[in-house]
Symmetry: C2
Subunit: 316 residues, 2 copies
């Protein structure tokens, strides 16, 4: 398949290294506003075409799939642009900033006979399925807490009076959009849709959230999803049954899973997978090759549910 890539940050590097492993793509075109980074990517990965203008790439390049890793606020319009050119799209999280945009993209894709997928790596990670199997043992669930709190190097720039995009509202920045989506995706994959959402945030003067705690209420248990871009959490994530808990070291990497109770602990999984974006790529290729509308819609449902929760946190 002929692949185009938009965006040349570290995440595009990760994607391309994973894409090499999957070995299904011809690296055809790369786009970024900065010609120097486009040329670096061209040299590194052997792209045939380079663009500093995404519209021009959409117009001229003959692609089967495009990977979009631009600031969050560009995802919707760029995905729509390529879907309308009958190009399948894999777009970084969050693919849209609202449910209505996502529903619009779905209609656009179906109309054009192509597919898209959100590059939510954890949702396609084989260890997430294993986690879901492990936790059956500790039912009934009584509590869970997930935290993805990571001090952003861009926060230093923010404090220096610069305006890094990850801290700007107009670029869809903030802790929930960047990191909270991972905690919510894991929660919704494991437990389904909550009955009620409660949240609070620390808001920066750029009007994005520096940190947010979201509490999901499932009637018989609560799940807290904490995200921050201005501090680090060194705690594990925890899913509590009545007398046993399952701990995971990281809500996205999912490489260490431990069961613990008052008698001690045992490791259920200790399996570091490098280049874990390969799984989202494989799933997406499978959707495209099999025209698998059911799988397409299933993954969309998780994204829709996460957006529904996020939209509820905005209603104050």
């Amino acid at each position: 398949m002929k692949l185009g890539v938009i965006g040349t940050s570290w995440i595009s590097d990760s994607f391309l290294e994973s894409a090499k492993i999957v070995n299904k793509f011809d690296f055809v075109a790369v786009a970024s506003p900065r010609m120097e980074s486009v040329e670096k990517f061209q040299k590194k990965y052997g792209f045939k075409e380079t663009y500093t203008d995404v519209s021009l790439m959409a117009e001229k390049s003959k692609l089967d799939v495009v990977y979009i890793a631009t600031p969050n606020s560009f995802h919707y319009e760029q995905t729509k642009l390529f879907l309308n050119k009958k190009v399948n799209v894999i777009c970084e999280k969050p693919i849209t900033l609202s449910r209505s945009e996502l529903i619009d993209l779905k209609e656009t894709a179906l109309l054009n006979g192509v597919f898209f997928i959100e590059a939510m790596r954890s949702l396609h990670h084989p260890n997430l399925k294993k986690l879901k199997e492990f936790i059956v043992d500790i039912k009934p669930f009584r509590h869970a807490s997930f935290q993805f709190m990571r001090y952003s190097s861009k926060y230093d720039a923010y404090k220096n009076g610069e305006k890094p995009k990850v801290f700007l509202k107009e670029f869809g920045g903030g802790a929930v959009n960047d990191l909270g989506v991972y905690t919510l995706t894991t929660a919704l994959y494991l437990f389904g849709k909550p009955l009620k959402v409660t949240s609070d945030s620390v808001i920066l003067d750029t009007l994005v959230d520096a940190s947010t705690v979201i509490t999901l209420n499932y009637g018989t248990f609560l799940v807290t999803c904490s995200s921050s871009k201005v501090s680090n959490s060194y705690l594990m994530n925890e899913i509590q049954g009545e007398k046993e808990s399952i701990l995971l070291n990281h809500v996205t990497h999912l490489d260490k899973i431990i069961k613990v109770n008052d008698e001690g602990s045992c490791t259920l999984l200790d399996d570091r997978i490098d280049h874990d974006m390969q799984y989202e790529i494989k799933d997406f290729i499978s959707i495209i090759e099999n025209k698998d509308i059911q799988m397409f819609e299933e993954y969309l449902t998780y994204t829709l549910d996460v957006l529904e929760v996020i939209e509820k946190t905005r209603i104050k």
Copy 2:
């Protein structure tokens, strides 16, 4: 000082073992509805008088101090009863279930020239003062999470259709009243009063909370206080600066405090103190002996602030 004790559960044992260390009390009177446990306590600690009726004890016994460890819903009236008999009172947490009751007790105490104190062991623990000194190093605070979640043996009884008092509303039961007060006291001691309180609970059919998450908003950081009586947390508690965190193994025992950052960790304190109720006893004796109204009011303030937060969690 002549000591009376009301209640004969394990916590009264803990108190009396600590009281022996402080060595300021004559063990004069013990009361409990069950004569067999009163006699057991009499034998074990050498109490001179035994009562199955608290009013009778208040009437007949000549006491300087009474320790109250009865179900939560009795605390207010029993404390008031003894204050009005000019007996100083040390009462288990939560000493009252509302701010207005606590304010009433304060007036009653001042009117009668005696004092009372809530037996909030962590607030008097010397390691809490040390913790407050340690955390100055990691300022500015960006987040904290405290959890006291402990599966109650009484929950098995509850599930068997019995009605244990710790799960009954009329006895002031539930997770926040029992365990959440510890997380809140530590939070308010370290950070002061929050600007805003958000919370959600799982409510049992007896109308008490099985578990609750309270998020305290301090403007530039959030603090989550999670409590549960139907599951265990195996996570540490965490106070996050921007690039360093301080972890504590237990919000009440306060016996292990660790500083951690991306380079590694160091232990700031590893100091298990047995009989840690000795510190609340010593502080209370100091208040009584020095007629220290300032110290009396200072400790009351923490209790009032905790009750204010809890009252906000009830407003839905």
